[in-house]
Subunit: 79 residues, 2 copies
């Protein structure tokens, strides 16, 4: 199973993307951890190291997929 | 089943996103049509009407999910 993390910050665009991730990904192949960077602030560094520039974003193994644009990671860091 | 279309233009970022769409979406729930706007130019208008600003992008029902950024739709139109 691929290691996957979905990072968001609770924004409306984040919530919308999360619905798709939860609804349509094949749970037999991928079951992403959901991380709210607004509340789990100790994960911001992980997100940054993974190459995330904005949220929402889905990381699958080493690959980052930014899905639409809710907020920059800088905004999340400063918020 | 949700109606879904994955629009791309053959760019490296498009191909990478297409792999995720083909590999990880639950085919029992969603089975997107794959449209290459570089070759299927008669579909560009559909993409524009759907609200697509760049490729790669996945449309599920009426919702557009831009996945990373390969090229703007304007570039695709002018290419």
């Amino acid at each position: 199973m691929a290691r996957a993390v979905f990072y968001h910050a609770g924004c409306p665009i984040c919530v919308d993307a999360e619905q798709v991730v939860l609804e349509y990904l094949d749970k037999a192949k991928i079951n992403p951890e959901i991380v709210h960077l607004g509340t789990e602030r100790n994960r911001i560094e992980d997100a940054e190291k993974a190459g995330i520039k904005s949220v929402p974003a889905l990381v699958i193994d080493q690959n980052v997929y930014h899905i639409n644009y809710g907020a920059s990671l800088e905004d999340v860091k400063n918020g």
